[in-house]
Symmetry: D2
Subunit: 160 residues, 4 copies
């Protein structure tokens, strides 16, 4: 019993992870954590353990078009924005954001670290909107292109 | 703030869920919980909150061939079997079972309820092996067929 | 023998089809034909029978990013443009355009109708470039958005 | 004009192909042809040019569960079996076999070579039934397992 196993990551290892990330479009974005799925070789579904310090934020308010995403709060307290409304969230609360239906963002508005699991599907090709920044992101494998939402026109209306 | 939202499920609702399930092939299997993904409309990725009482077990030792699966322990303590080895697991431990690579099973071997999140990808077609029962399950959408592992022959060897 | 069958379409029916289409961005585009895959209930792969009159063209020079496409010439003669080179094509010639790798276009430069089969994969989300028109098309299910290629910026360079 | 191009295969090359194949379960199966999709780098959709000599047959009567398949007759004449009925088929006839819905087989019952295009989607994991041989084939990537249809039992009925 208790040998090391490539498919098992212990709580202490997870909490000690010093991988950090921040979204380049939000100067207040600050996350630390571990890609649990990558660490264990999962390729078809994503799950990460994330900690956001007090006063900091996860990414930036956005809407995925193809990827489902979810968040489960482990400890701390925060404010979730979902489709332009705010909700106080705490330990044991779950949020599911179906592709194309729920723009969202999460901020640590409490006084201790906000810890949560986040996950979802991952697609080789993805579209995401950042409505407050007026941007759409087009991701193809590693490559990312950005367009202003105001530069997207209707197929019928546009005659090049 | 704090209106109800179709994409947010509160901790109290989750813990009060009285959906229960047990695997028909394991008389000691007993789970209570909630399909968090279904409740919020996620279609591409699955996540459930599950509680197994002391002395009881999750499903039955099995290996998925197409679906990735993972477990994150929230509270309680248990014994995970992964590829025929046993591991004591507790709060904050994560297990990832890549499709085709990690047969697994989880038993509550502690004295309090074992609570965990489990999730993964979900496929319309799936194969899963139950090596200790000598069975392979073929699932097509809702339909499930069962064959004995000993009844599966090699394509070249079989000449009907 | 020779009952009607929902999975079989006779040559006469196919040739008599009066479905027609033209690409709105090319005034010289003119096609007549039948979606053979739709008619027989195929959902995962597309194949159509197409006829282009002398002097007319198929669509407009373009590159798919996610969908593979192919063309097999049945009768007549034409000029195919593939990655900015021209090729004379005739009966029995096959062209395969792997996603992201081969921009293409087909014109009837002969004196009789140019008949061909065309097919490929079909995706719910697709990106396609029209390099000579300086446009990228983003298709999500039925919805189509258009952006100028010159309006797409690099993720790192763009700071909204 | 008329340089060689990796995305274009000439009629002469195709017709001269000496790749041949036969289905191991049908001693009368005999095909010669070319994987047009592989030759041009298509990964998401399959299309082949096939010739079956007089008196010979394509594969063996079967039903795919996940892959769509289609056949377009180029020349010669044959007999198609679709869901246990026979149809005389000739040049220009199209058959589409949606996954799970149309068991099929093709024999050259004429006096000249039967030439056709066949194609469809290709899946890494596939199930196919050979009802006249009482077999189900389970294909995972390259690996193929075979079970007798009579050895498949219902999930609820089977209690290992």
């Amino acid at each position: 019993m208790n040998q090391t196993c490539p498919f098992l990551i212990r709580a202490e290892q997870i909490e000690a992870s010093d991988d950090s990330a921040s979204h380049p479009w939000n100067p207040n974005s600050a996350m630390r954590g571990m890609h649990l799925s990558k660490q264990t070789g999962l390729t078809d579904t994503g799950i990460s353990w994330v900690e956001v310090p007090p006063g900091k934020e996860s990414c930036v308010y956005h809407l995925h078009y193809r990827e489902d995403e979810w968040i489960y709060i482990l400890s701390g307290s925060g404010t979730a924005e979902i489709n332009d409304r705010e909700y106080a969230v705490g330990p044991g609360d779950f949020m599911g954001f179906p592709a194309g239906k729920a723009a969202h963002h999460l901020r640590n508005t409490g006084s201790e670290p906000l810890r949560y699991l986040m996950g979802g599907s991952s697609k080789r090709f993805e579209l995401a909107d950042f409505p407050r920044l007026g941007r759409r992101v087009i991701r193809q494998d590693g490559e990312i292109g950005v367009v202003k939402l105001s530069d997207i026109s209707d197929f019928e209306a546009d005659s090049p």
